[in-house]
Amino acid sequence: MLSPSDILLIPFDDWVNTLVRDILVPNFRPFFRALQVPVTSVLNALDAFLQFVPMLVTTAVLALIAWRTVGRSMALFTLIALVFIDMIGLWPETMTTLSMILTSVLFCTIIGIPLGILAAGSNKLWAVTRPILDIMQTIPSFVYLVPIVMLFGVGMVPGIIATIIFALPPIIRLTNLGIRNVRGDLIEAAEAFGSTRWQILWEVQFPLALRTIMAGLNQTLMLSLSMVVIAALIGAGGLGLVVYTGLGRLDVGGATAGGVGIVLLAIILDRITQALGEQSGVRTPSLRQTLVSLFRARRAPTGETRETGS
């Protein structure tokens, strides 16, 4: 049976090899090295800070945040989960993972939100951005792990850069979606009162899109967590490394301990960011407001007649 490959065999892998090894690596390595500098400094500062703060203080602060944003039961869960992590001897690794995740989420936010806003304002830019995001989300992360090592070397920071590539799409997508979904007549109203573009963005679009953007942030955070083990393959530390080492040594217990740590951290961060998202953006009336509005509605008929009578 004739197949097209009998006629022409495209050496695609050779092309890519040439591109990366012979063009990118020798010529642009300093550039990529320079790119790491901000990531390195943020990561180091965060890691140093989280390792320095005593375990009990960090636990108390996280439990307090969980209490304020989600509720009492979540605060209790946070408390127990973090104490458990400490008891299984993984506290320093957990803090390293936390600082890695926070760093990658921070950079995803810094890159993603402005890009999402720009994409929302221009159909052309979105048409270009969209397929790139599709590729970023579907390409297996192992594929870009090798060129990342070649360009950035091994260690924590290349791991974070791989994480950023993997976790960036949702926040861009959802920022774009949130901004685009702001009701047209609200933009028109803002414009009719003489708002500048910045004022429209800041006063109307961004606050109304915030709920969707927060959902994107939550997704980005979750994806970052899921990269922890893969990033460990190229030298990132933390809980991912615990799992990876366990895997290498067929140490079921060690790998499970690391895995449990990741899951617990994931639950805590997920619940907190979800609750933050629900609080922001378009207001959903809380219980208090519902009660207040009920009370007002009952009062309203008399109020109406008084107003119209005058």
Binding site: A192, R283, V292, R296, T308
Partner: protein, 421 residues
């Protein structure tokens, strides 16, 4: 009166390029032809009008007639393809973005059909939006916002959110937001269309009441002719992007320009359009000192059943032919008018709408139209009220304006009305 807003030869064509379509329009091709041949949509064609200060100009049209496009061109939300829109001499159609922003901030504000309140801001913050955009400090803008809210009777809701308010209240907030920046011109894009009929009536009255003190120049868009007739000092009827007729409520109802307008006018409430002075006769009356015979003769000459009796300038009362002739038969010719004088008589102000005269007309006595000083300025025969309602202009009614045209109209529209009614 000075014109606040001048609109001259404004066209709007959607789709690029527009030159070709514009040429075709000016050559007299229709909207449909142009859409078919060039794929471009004609929004507004050849609109020209002036709105004088403190007047309400209503643009009435069905959906797709271009009225929303027109109003959006007035504050530059949509840029006209051709023409000029002058607000106190500044051309909104051609001025710089910065100038346009200054005009929007200071001179012209807008009220939207679906209220367009910002759901994440409190009522007071919504009302203060225009002030915040201008850079006013927080304390002062709250003060002004509360004052604007007070005008619409919602000051106590300042710290609620829009979702907690009913539709009618939300639109009052929309109005307050537009009033807060103290603009001279108010654009209202179907502001009451999304409200239920009762609230709509209430809002219309409130707007008219507010307008008495505010004296804004208002451009009001609606698809409801009744609303247009109630609110408008002048009304433009729009169809396919062009003005079919521009005039006062009475002009439009009495003399519709074409079949399209007559079709609208056919089922509007004429009782709310025409006033007592439109159907009043000249104030024929006799003095109290006149004899019964003179009064009877006057009634026979005027062909009326009753006559007003004046005591100098003042109205003394009314005498009916029946009472007077009976009195003459019984008492001989000597008796004066005073013995059969009815001192209870119906009166109406000159500006009273016909709908307010129905009850008065049912007394059977002619209605005295009086001015502010209580002087008799006209007389409305009960039949005249109903003749006007049925759409028939009576030649002898106070229509000195082209009595001939009115009679020819009567024949035409009379026939047209006989069937649907």
């Amino acid at each position: 009166m000075q014109a606040k807003l001048n609109v001259r030869d404004v066209y709007k064509i959607f789709g690029e390029p527009t030159h070709d379509a514009l040429e075709r329009l000016k050559r007299g091709e229709t909207k449909e032809q142009i859409l078919e041949e060039t794929g471009q949509v004609v929004g507004v064609q050849d609109a020209s009008f002036d709105v004088e200060e403190a007047r309400i100009f209503v643009v009435m049209g069905l959906s797709g007639s271009g009225k929303s496009t027109l109003v959006r061109m007035l504050n530059g939300l949509i840029k006209p393809t051709a023409g000029h829109i002058l607000i106190e001499g500044d051309d909104v159609a051609t001025c710089s973005a910065e100038k346009l922003r200054a005009i929007r901030r200071n001179k012209i504000a807008m009220v939207f059909q679906h209220f367009a309140l910002f759901p994440h801001k409190t009522i007071a913050e919504n009302v203060a939006y225009g002030l915040k955009i201008k850079g006013m400090g927080a304390a002062e803008r709250r003060k002004q916002a509360l004052a604007a809210l007070d005008q619409v009777g919602l000051a106590s809701w300042a710290d609620s959110y829009p979702s907690e308010l009913s539709g009618g209240m939300q639109q009052r907030v929309g109005l307050a937001r537009a009033l807060a920046t103290d603009p001279q011109i108010l654009l209202m894009d179907e502001p009451f269309s999304a409200l239920d009929p009762l609230i709509r009536r209430e809002m219309q009255e409130e707007l008219l009441n507010l307008q008495k003190t505010l004296k804004k120049t208002i451009i009001f868009i609606t698809h409801d002719l009744n609303e247009a007739l109630i609110l408008g000092d002048r009304i433009a009827i729009m169809k396919d992007g062009r003005f079919v007729q521009v005039g006062t409520a009475q002009e439009i109802v009495a003399h519709p320009a074409d079949e399209y307008v007559s079709a609208f006018v056919a089922d509007i409430d004429r009782g709310r359009v025409f006033t007592a002075s439109h159907v009043a006769n000249e104030p024929a009356a006799v003095q109290l000192s006149a004899s019964a015979e003179e009064a009877l003769r006057a009634m026979e000459e005027l062909n009326r059943n009753a006559l007003y009796v004046l005591d100098g300038e003042k109205i003394a009362g009314v005498v009916t032919y029946q009472d007077l002739s009976a009195a003459v038969r019984e008492n001989g010719k000597g008796g004066g008018l005073a013995m059969v004088l009815l001192t209870e008589y119906p009166t109406a102000a000159e500006g009273a709408h016909l709908q307010d005269l129905y009850g008065l007309a049912s007394t059977g006595l002619p209605i005295a139209v009086i001015d502010r000083e209580g002087r008799l300025t006209g007389i409305v025969e009960p039949e005249a009220v109903f003749a006007q309602l049925s759409g028939e202009d009576r030649p002898q009614a106070n229509g000195e304006r082209d009595a001939e045209a009115a009679t020819s109209d009567t024949r035409e529209t009379g026939g047209a009305h006989a069937q649907p009614l």
